[in-house]
């Protein structure tokens, strides 16, 4: 069933070492480090699923913040108890549906993903009528509309105040485990016939359509699949942050994910993993830039936001000089494959 080829051994080794690392981390590391690792794991889920639509299928969409917001709200509302909701909803009384919604963690995450997928499937018709730049701007607009809806329906979402005191019911095993599952799932999608069809759509949509691929169906499939995992990731993010509000899921989130997949290499899942580690880790590491700065004995004062300047310059430099990113379109475990056997 699983021939012990070099590639498979390498895959097995990678997964086992990550599981071992998670085990060591959860038991030995301090809260701060565990929090960063949680963050990295969630960003791996989000980046891998974003990569499916953006890198693998080649549809340059800017929607993840919308789906993450949907997932986060569904999970948060499902996990909060009825008493908590009465206490939290200050602008208007909670809607009876919202009060009736109460689920355990796993169904809550599943329904978060499902909600995002349903929205994605409805959205696919207008969105995939257009290509390229237009697609980008329509999906970008979608994120704004989600925010407007969240602010203007206080009986469902508590408006601009948002929700807080979401119970923390996850640990590193949950986030890390789901991250591993997501990446494995995405890799299996990529190497399935659907994945090949997605790549064909990316490389030449007209040619793909000419050889009998239903491009709309394939794009919708990729969109829905990535929406599902973005919803789940959003749910995990809500639990990790314990507080969510409509202002949290702005275009900035999408921008971070974009840097991650561009840095890792558009179309490479293991690239997305590496990108998540570098970008989320780097964000933490560069935190000193936002505080008071002393360089070469000079006082530069305090400049909140400098980190973001660094990251946007990084994105521009990658695009100008290293468009392939770290991995290109390759995967980590295919690096050692003999050449000519592609």
């Amino acid at each position: 069933m699983f021939p012990l080829s070099k590639t498979n051994l390498l895959k097995l080794f990678l997964i086992l070492s990550i599981v071992l690392f998670l085990f060591v981390a959860q038991n030995n590391f301090n809260d701060y480090t565990i929090r960063i690792l949680n963050n990295i794991a969630i960003f791996i889920i989000l980046a891998a699923s974003y990569n499916l639509i953006n890198g693998v299928t080649g549809q340059f969409s800017l929607e993840p913040n919308g789906f993450v917001a949907i997932g986060a709200y569904v999970t948060a509302l499902a996990l909060l108890s009825e008493d908590m909701k009465w206490e939290l909803f200050q602008l208007e009384d909670p809607h009876p549906w919202i009060l009736a919604l109460h689920l355990d963690l796993i169904p809550a995450l599943f329904f978060s993903g499902l909600a995002a997928t349903i929205v994605a499937v409805f959205l696919a018709t207008p969105v995939f009528r257009v290509r390229g730049d237009y697609l980008a701007i329509v999906t970008l607009g979608f994120g704004f509309i989600i925010k407007v809806i969240a602010i203007n329906n206080p009986e469902f979402t508590n408006g601009s105040i948002g929700l807080n005191e979401i119970p923390t019911v996850i640990n590193l095993y949950w986030t890390g485990g789901l991250a591993i599952l997501t990446v494995i799932f995405m890799l299996n999608v990529i190497y399935s016939k659907y994945g090949r069809a997605m790549k064909a759509v990316r490389d030449d949509e007209d040619a793909a359509s000419a050889i009998g691929i239903n491009t709309f169906k394939i794009k919708t499939l990729a969109f829905g699949t990535s929406a599902f995992f973005e919803g789940v990731g959003g749910g995990l993010l809500a639990i990790l942050l314990t507080t969510i509000s409509p202002d949290l899921f702005t275009f900035f989130l999408t921008f971070q994910l974009l840097i991650i997949i561009v840095l890792g290499g558009l179309g490479s899942m293991t690239g997305a993993v590496i990108g998540s580690v570098i970008v989320v880790g780097g964000m933490e590491w560069l935190r000193f830039l936002d505080g008071p700065l002393f360089l070469f004995g000079m006082d530069f004062g305090s400049h909140p936001g400098l980190r973001m300047v660094v990251f946007s310059v990084l994105l521009i430099i990658i695009m100008l000089f290293a468009r392939e990113g770290i991995m290109g379109k390759r995967e980590l475990f295919t690096l050692f494959k003999r050449k000519g056997k592609k």
Binding site: D133, Y134, V138, N152, F255, P304, G305, F311, M319, L320
Partner: protein, 298 residues
């Protein structure tokens, strides 16, 4: 709603729409030439607004010289953007160009954030703009007349430039076919630079108008305004300069009237632009002016 309130809303809508139009022209021209949604264009407008704020509060300029200062800074930023970020990618896949544009947009927002701080700045326009006068029961500020007038003047100037000068012919030719134009001995990069100069200066004027009208400046103000202006450009028919202005006016007018008729749904005002965008793309992708990508231009 009586007639004078309607006229008041009409004029307010046209004024708001002219500002969208000014910014939309930049989108439409860059798209026409490079086939790129210049994501950074809204932020160039923001740079214009901030430069004029900086000129008035720090350098002590009056409003007119601060407009010139704003145009100058925006043009420098716009041209540099093209030279540094877009020019090396002329032959790269379009997606790379789009990602770079988003990078530039984020860079400008955060640079202004670092330079000026994150707290919103209040823009102090001269007292002239604060006075009001009454016609019937409708109350106007001078700006609602100045904005459309200046916009139409600039539009006429731009159309003269496009249709009556050698540079205008070159710009329109570029929109047809970049390769052939470069074979005709025209410096393509120079012409593209002129397009960025035109777009950025119009955006700067739009930015100053915006700052006088809504005197709260934040580094992220350009995102939403830029997106709406882009929606206006698509509504009018992207690639068409008249279309951009027309789309802007329609969008501004609809927003104002929507809030006037349905005040309880006022929160959804910002979504109108995207509804327009999606409807246009679904039913008439060439927009109102019906620009066919392969044939007519501007």
């Amino acid at each position: 709603m009586d007639i004078s309130t309607f006229i008041q809303q009409l004029i307010n809508g046209i004024s708001l729409g002219s500002m969208y139009g000014l910014i939309a022209i930049g989108y439409t021209m860059v798209y026409g030439v490079l086939r790129l949604i210049n994501f950074a264009h809204g932020d160039i407008m923001m740079v214009g607004a901030f430069s004029s704020f900086f000129g008035m509060s720090v350098l002590g300029l009056d409003i007119y010289s601060s407009v010139v200062f704003a145009i100058l800074i925006s043009v420098i930023v716009g041209v540099l953007t093209d030279k540094v970020a877009y020019k090396p990618l002329r032959h790269a896949p379009r997606i790379s160009l789009l990602i770079t544009a988003i990078g530039i947009s984020f860079f400008l927002e955060n640079l202004v954030n670092v330079l000026f701080g994150g707290t919103p700045k209040s823009f102090h326009a001269p007292a002239f703009f604060d006075q009001t006068f009454q016609i019937g029961s409708a109350i106007f500020t001078p700006l609602v007349f100045i904005v459309p007038l200046v916009t139409i003047l600039l539009l006429l100037l731009l159309l003269t430039l496009l249709y009556r000068t050698k540079y205008g012919i070159a710009i329109r030719a570029l929109a047809f076919d970049i390769k052939t134009v470069s074979l005709m001995g025209i410096d393509v990069n120079k012409i593209i630079m002129y397009v960025f100069i035109i777009g950025s200066s119009l955006a700067a004027v739009g930015g100053v108008f915006w700052a006088i009208n809504y005197p709260i400046l934040t580094p992220y103000m350009g995102v939403m305004i830029g997106l709406k202006a882009f929606a206006a450009a698509v509504l009018g028919g992207i690639g068409s300069v008249y279309g951009a202005f027309l789309g802007g006016v329609i969008l501004g007018f609809t927003e104002v009237i929507f809030v006037a008729f349905f005040p309880e749904y006022g929160g959804y005002k910002d979504a109108i632009a995207f509804v327009f965008l999606i409807l246009v793309l679904l039913f008439r992708p060439t927009g109102i002016m019906g620009i066919n990508f392969e044939k007519a231009r501007f």
